[in-house]
Amino acid sequence: MNITDLKRDETARIVSLGKIDQIFNKRLMDLGIYESATVVMLNKLSSNRLYVIEVDDIEICLRKEDAELIEVRK
């Protein structure tokens, strides 16, 4: 499953960022999103087009098409 399948306030563990291209991957890592990190789905905004997730203590907003590439496991 990917991150967009999570319900609000649900927690999961990132298993793979493999589908994301290198540059974007690096930006995610800079912000602290990495494989094996724990994510919380904080908010779905803009009619589920934007997702606010929390990794460690950082809140990040990304678009659906990018969020879908983040594989997670509950």
Binding site: L17, G32, E35, L45, L50, C61, D66
Partner: protein, 538 residues
Amino acid sequence: MIYLLAGNPNVGKSTFFNFMTQSHVHVGNYSGVTVEKRVHHVKHYEGANLVDLPGTYNVSPASEDEGVVTYSLLNESYNGIVNIIDSTHLRRNLHLTIQLLELGVPSLLVFNLKDALRNNGYVIDIEKIKDSLRVNAISISARERHHDDQTQIASEMQNLRITKALELDYHHTIKWGIQRIHDLLRYDVIQVKKKWLALQILEGNEGIFKFLNLVKEDKIREVIKEVEDRIIEEKVAFSLKGAIFNTRREFIDKIVRESLIKVEEKEHSKYFNQKIDRIITHPKFGIPIFFVIMLAIYQVSFGKFLGVGSFLTNYFDIFWNDYLVLYLGEALEFLGLTGFMYGLLIDGVMGGVGGILVFLPQIVVLFFMLAILEGTGYMARVAIVMDRFLSKFGFNGKSIVPIITGFGCSVPAIMATRTIADKKERILTILTIPFVSCSARLPIYGLFVSLFFTEYRAIIILGIYILGIIVTLLSAKLLNLSYFKGAGSKFLLEVPPYRVPQLRTITYQALEKAKRFVKKAGTFILVDSFKFYSFLVI
């Protein structure tokens, strides 16, 4: 003595810089406000200068903005580094700290936002940090500006420990790679430790190849490839960068476990924030809310109803025409100046400059309210609201920050685009910013509106603004369809917490902008009214 001020974006670097140097650089609650490098003297420390660098998550440059940091570390001379850390986001912040400590330069770690951390129910055990990282450290709240903190920081800076570079226990393949690259660097003359450079190279810091002409660049790239392949093959991580990252993260976890101490159980404000966010960024109401807020701001600045700006302008007008001009006129007559000189000064200069200056109170009010908006963290929400809309024109929501800055002045707006990582998108934003109505055009609009309209002035001014925005968007679309065809746009936004802005900073910001406005507009108008009056009379 020169100290570099480094840290993640939006951690209070500028606040700290202002505090320690008694200066006033721009403070804002979103990432990417500081884009130029600034240098200033440090209080209580004779001969020391602090250099405010742009915020960065990482030493390796991901956008041009962050390249400045790598460049400074590699090429500039400095005596130490002051690393500002957001105590409420330790895990993310410490990645940069580790990279700086690996450099082995005398450093002071400043754990900022002590007040915010305490509000969340935590404190930092600073002695523990000093012990485990073997580095000078202090925990402060830059915003509260305690005098004691200032003197202690100055004294810490004068007594920085000379420490050994921090060495983490990276995977043996990485260590092997570091050694190989280190050997390949032996022909190069570099001011930083070569081990550090080797690790940064492995991490993918392209800035190093850009800023240094390494003799064995090709060989080095081969080593990177080899290490990367082995890391993936041995299933250490999915990428070389990931492997390095993981080691650091484990180390950070340990530090945070040891030194972040819970002192009070607190209800998390986060869930409340999420609720507010859902309302403010509502798919239907988000944009209307934004416009209502902007309209309210223009109404208060320029309108009649609730018009603080117009109210002040009235008094200013009375002061200017009924007192200043009157007495100046009498003084001139008393001195026996009449005819051309009298007309030039009273009608030309005072009339011309006065005609623009009457707008000053309104503009100060406008700037003041925009500064409040910026300080709360609402701008990041505007970026979210606008993303869907802006993406249709090839921007992403992040472009909204420079665009909004563009309402103030185009020059800093264009500089602010440096935080947009995608090059095409950055250029697109730069090219379209000049269409946004900057504040210098405001008096012109004001003049126009007060000449031709008596009612609905705020709405008309807003209308002119919106017209500007429409032109901006259309030109972006045009560029997007032609020259920048197929520019992929990505949106990745760090959502800042809501904060109550500080009166001190806001007032200062508003006055500063107003001053710049008077200077810029004033000079033109002064010169022009001279010319114009002379032209009329002669």
